[in-house]
Structures are given as structure tokens and as C-alpha cells.
């Protein structure tokens, strides 16, 4: 009936979710302060730069295939990227530059289109929305080549790479660099982080992309959830220290308890 080996994980996750929820509720009384995330602070600068130079902005979330949104690792990153896109599209609608979205996942084409459309409508500029600028480019290598072509042909002023990237990441940032674009990246995939960190002007590491929506919206509850994450991290640290101590001193009872 109950899966062995997962009980403690389940209980811990419930506990963490309760802690995060309590932080969200508490945030309404006292607004929490997050540390600065330079990559998100640079959003307005990037859009402004694009508006001044008359060149478009590029937004892309990496390649994928079918079922990316339901993938356990890719789905949350895509959702976080779409969160950033909604703010980015609002800024673009306000300041004027075109925003070109290169979509490499078939199941995120519709959410991407609707998010950008809604942003333009909310800013009172529905006529400025161009559905042709939301392009599905296939997946994998076809998407990589097509996106590079768009970067070079349109000579984008700012390029945003936020989501699950694979081997195409370095290709994108280098070609963006060649056209003189400002590059803002973010991924939770550890195998692509070094490439983004090496070449992007601003970069978000791991959980910073999950906190992006909260950071940009500034809403108390969302900020509270980010504070709750810190509690979850603190708890993880305590658990790791206890497990290391138990393993070092041969406390097999505690280790067996952790395997429940």
C-alpha cells in the first residue's frame, strides 16, 4: 500500500510545503526582502537598449520535443521562463521593441503565444502584437540552426535564454555575442551553467529562475514562498550534517530511519 523508501521523503516534502505556505501567509504582514538578482534587474536595461537601437529582442527556452512541459526537470524551468516572458513582453509592449520568441517545444507554443498576446493587451496595445514573431522552429538541431539564423538575420539587441538548454546553448550565446546583443541567461541544468556563465552578460543559476516570477512581480505571497525555500534549504543542510555525522560515527539506526 505504502511505498517503502519514500515515506520520509514524503513527510519531509509535506513539512517543507507547510513551511513555505506559512512564510507566504506571514509575508502579507511583513514584506520580505530578497537579495538582488542582477539578471532580472537588467531586464529593463536590455529592453531599453533594444528600443534605442531599433533592434528586436529574442527570447528562447531551449530545445526539447514532445512532452517537455510534463518532463520533471524541463517543465518547471519552462514555466519559470514563461513567468519572465510575461514581464518581458509587458516591458516590450511599453517601450516598443519587437519581441521574437523562438519556441523549441511544441507544447509550449500556445502558452508562449497567449502570454505575449495578453501582455500586449494588458498594456493597451493589442494591435502591436505580432503572432508571426512567436515561431515554432522544430526541436533539437533544426531549432538550433533556425534560432541562430534569426539571431544573425534580425541582429537582435538583447537575447534571453531562460529554460532547459542542451548542447545548443553555447552556439546561441556565441552568435548573439557576434551580433553585439546583450545576453541574459538562466538554466537549472547544471551541465549548461558553465557555458552560460562564461559568455552571458548576466546569468541566473538554478533556483534563481524559479524565484524570478516572485522577484519581478514583487507580490508579498510570492516573495514569501521564496523565503520558505530558504527554510527548506536550511532544513536540508541540517539533515545533511546529521546524516554525515551518523555515517561518520556509524549510527546505523539513524541511517536506516532515513531510508524509510
Amino acid at each position: 500500500m505504502i511505498r517503502s523508501g519514500n515515506v520520509l521523503d514524503f513527510v519531509v516534502m509535506i513539512g517543507l510545503m507547510i513551511a513555505i505556505y506559512l512564510m507566504m501567509s506571514r509575508a502579507e504582514k511583513k514584506m520580505p526582502k530578497l537579495r538582488r538578482i542582477p539578471a532580472l534587474d537588467a531586464l529593463e536595461e536590455a529592453v531599453g537598449r533594444a528600443a534605442e537601437t531599433g533592434r528586436p529582442i529574442l527570447f528562447t527556452q531551449g530545445s526539447g520535443g514532445t512532452g517537455t512541459l510534463s518532463h520533471p526537470e524541463e517543465g518547471p524551468q519552462i514555466m519559470s521562463g514563461l513567468n519572465v516572458l510575461s514581464h518581458l513582453a509587458a516591458l516590450a509592449a511599453n517601450l516598443g521593441p519587437r519581441i521574437i520568441c523562438c519556441v523549441g517545444q511544441s507544447d509550449s507554443l500556445i502558452p508562449t503565444t497567449e502570454i505575449v498576446r495578453e501582455a500586449y493587451i494588458a498594456q493597451g496595445m493589442p494591435e502591436a502584437f505580432r503572432e508571426d514573431d512567436i515561431r515554432f522552429l522544430g526541436s533539437g538541431n533544426a531549432y538550433a540552426f533556425a534560432a541562430v539564423d534569426i539571431i544573425r538575420t534580425e541582429e537582435v539587441a538583447a537575447a534571453f535564454f531562460i529554460g532547459p538548454f542542451y548542447n545548443e546553448s553555447l552556439t546561441f550565446v556565441f552568435h548573439s555575442d557576434d551580433v553585439g546583443a546583450m545576453k541574459i541567461g538562466g538554466t537549472a541544468f547544471t551541465h549548461q551553467m558553465p557555458f552560460f556563465a562564461a559568455v552571458c552578460d548576466y546569468f541566473m543559476i538554478g533556483e534563481e529562475i524559479y524565484a524570478a516570477g516572485a522577484y519581478l512581480s514583487g507580490e508579498a505571497e510570492e516573495l514569501g514562498s521564496v523565503v520558505g525555500e530558504d527554510f527548506a534549504k536550511g532544513f536540508s543542510i541540517i539533515l545533511i550534517i546529521l546524516a554525515v555525522a551518523a555515517a561518520s560515527f556509524g549510527l546505523s539506526g539513524f541511517l536506516n530511519f532515513m531510508r524509510i
Binding site: 500500500m1 505504502i2 511505498r3 519514500n6 515515506v7 514524503f10 516534502m13 510545503m17 513555505i20 505556505y21 507566504m24 514532445t66 512532452g67 517537455t68 512541459l69 510534463s70 518547471p76 514555466m79 514563461l82 513567468n83 519556441v103 511544441s106 507544447d107 507554443l109 500556445i110 502558452p111 508571426d132 515561431r135 515554432f136 522552429l137 522544430g138 538541431n141 533544426a142 538550433a144 540552426f145 538575420t153 548542447n167 545548443e168 552556439t171 556565441f174 537549472a188 547544471t190 562564461a198 559568455v199 543559476i205 538554478g206 533556483e207 529562475i209 524559479y210 524565484a211 516570477g213 507580490e219 510570492e222 514562498s225 521564496v226 520558505g228 525555500e229 527548506a232 534549504k233 536540508s236
Partner: protein
């Protein structure tokens, strides 16, 4: 009514899916529903692929009809897509010689090209980024040089080089990656909770 369709129903579907998948983690009887939900997600994604193909076809047709810049590439795109669809349906479906030829000599080769091009990008990135600008940067350069050269088989003949690289991989690098993975996981839990509580509505 519109608000129920636009807000409440998607929220209910998202919340129920989260609870079912969460329950599947701990309860065996939930496996049947969870498996069905995963299969439905795959089916929806397959239909989304069809929709994306339609969208792509419309875009390229428009580019050709309006003679937009690069319209001839749109012809190539549509021709390639059509060719793969036709040969994939030729008997015995995806086992036909034509499909295998196109797959092997067009698709696979382009994948290998993208991957091979990384050699140039990575070498240029390493050359640009690994500069001893500060104390921390110097540490990074030293660690990167040791780990990079350890990938050359000859490094095994240079005494402690490979053991040093293995230490870097096994100790500081592993610790850092574990930290990033744990914090990313905490972020994902918070994101899921926000969707469950309706604070984050990606469908809007």
C-alpha cells in the same frame, strides 16, 4: 461562466494533477491513475506537436506568398518536412530504406555537426573566460586547466595530474553541484505549491 472556464477549471485540473502525482510517490494504489495521467500528458503533447507543425506550415506559407526575406529557405523547410512525412509513411513505415537514408545522412549528421561545432565554441569560451584577473579567477583557471588536460589520455603519464583532476571532480565540484541541485529542487517544490494554491497561473 467565462471566469470559471478560464480560471477555475484549469486551476482544478492543475491542482488535481499535482495531488495525484504527489500521492503516487507514496501510495501504490495511485499508480494506476498516475500512469493514466502521464499517458494523457504524452497524448496531449503529441497533439501539441501537430498543432505546432500547422503553425509552422502557416508561417512558412505566408513567408513564401509574401516573398518575405529568405522565402526560399521556407520552401526548403516545407519540402524537407513533407519529404520526411512521406517517407515515414512508406511501407514498412519508419523502416523504409528512404527514411533510413534521410535520417542517417541528413538528421543524424546535422545533430553531429551541432555537437562538433561545440569544440570551437568551448575552446573560444575557455580562451576568453579563463583569465587570471583576480585571486578567485586564478583558482578557477588552475582548476579548469587541471580538469581539462586530464581529459587527454597522456595526462595519466604526468604523475599526479589525473588523481588531482579526479579529486576536483569528486570533491569540490560534486559538493557544488549537489548544492545547486538541492536548491533547484527546493525552488521546484515552491513553484509547485504556488501552482497548487493558485498563486501562479501559467495558463492565464
Amino acid at each position: 461562466m467565462t471566469s470559471i472556464i478560464r480560471d477555475q477549471i484549469p486551476w482544478f485540473i492543475a491542482g488535481a494533477s499535482i495531488i495525484i502525482m504527489f500521492g503516487d510517490y507514496i501510495l501504490d494504489p495511485m499508480a494506476v491513475i498516475a500512469t493514466a495521467l502521464r499517458n494523457w500528458a504524452v497524448i496531449v503533447a503529441a497533439f501539441a506537436m501537430g498543432l505546432a507543425m500547422v503553425s509552422m506550415t502557416i508561417f512558412h506559407f505566408r513567408a513564401i506568398s509574401q516573398r518575405q526575406s529568405g522565402w526560399y529557405y521556407s520552401i526548403c523547410t516545407l519540402a524537407g518536412m513533407l519529404a520526411m512525412i512521406i517517407v515515414a509513411f512508406m511501407p514498412p513505415m519508419t523502416g523504409s530504406a528512404q527514411f533510413n537514408w534521410l535520417y542517417k545522412w541528413v538528421n543524424t549528421v546535422s545533430g553531429q555537426t551541432t555537437y562538433a561545432a561545440l569544440a570551437f565554441w568551448i575552446s573560444a569560451a575557455a580562451y576568453r573566460t579563463l583569465r587570471v584577473r583576480s585571486f578567485e579567477a586564478t583558482l578557477m583557471v588552475v582548476a579548469a586547466m587541471i580538469c581539462m588536460f586530464a581529459n587527454a589520455p597522456l595526462s595519466a603519464l604526468l604523475g599526479p595530474w589525473k588523481p588531482a583532476a579526479s579529486w576536483f571532480l569528486a570533491v569540490p565540484s560534486t559538493g557544488a553541484y549537489r548544492g545547486i541541485v538541492i536548491t533547484s529542487a527546493c525552488g521546484m517544490i515552491a513553484l509547485g505549491l504556488r501552482v497548487l494554491l493558485g498563486r501562479l497561473r501559467p495558463w492565464e
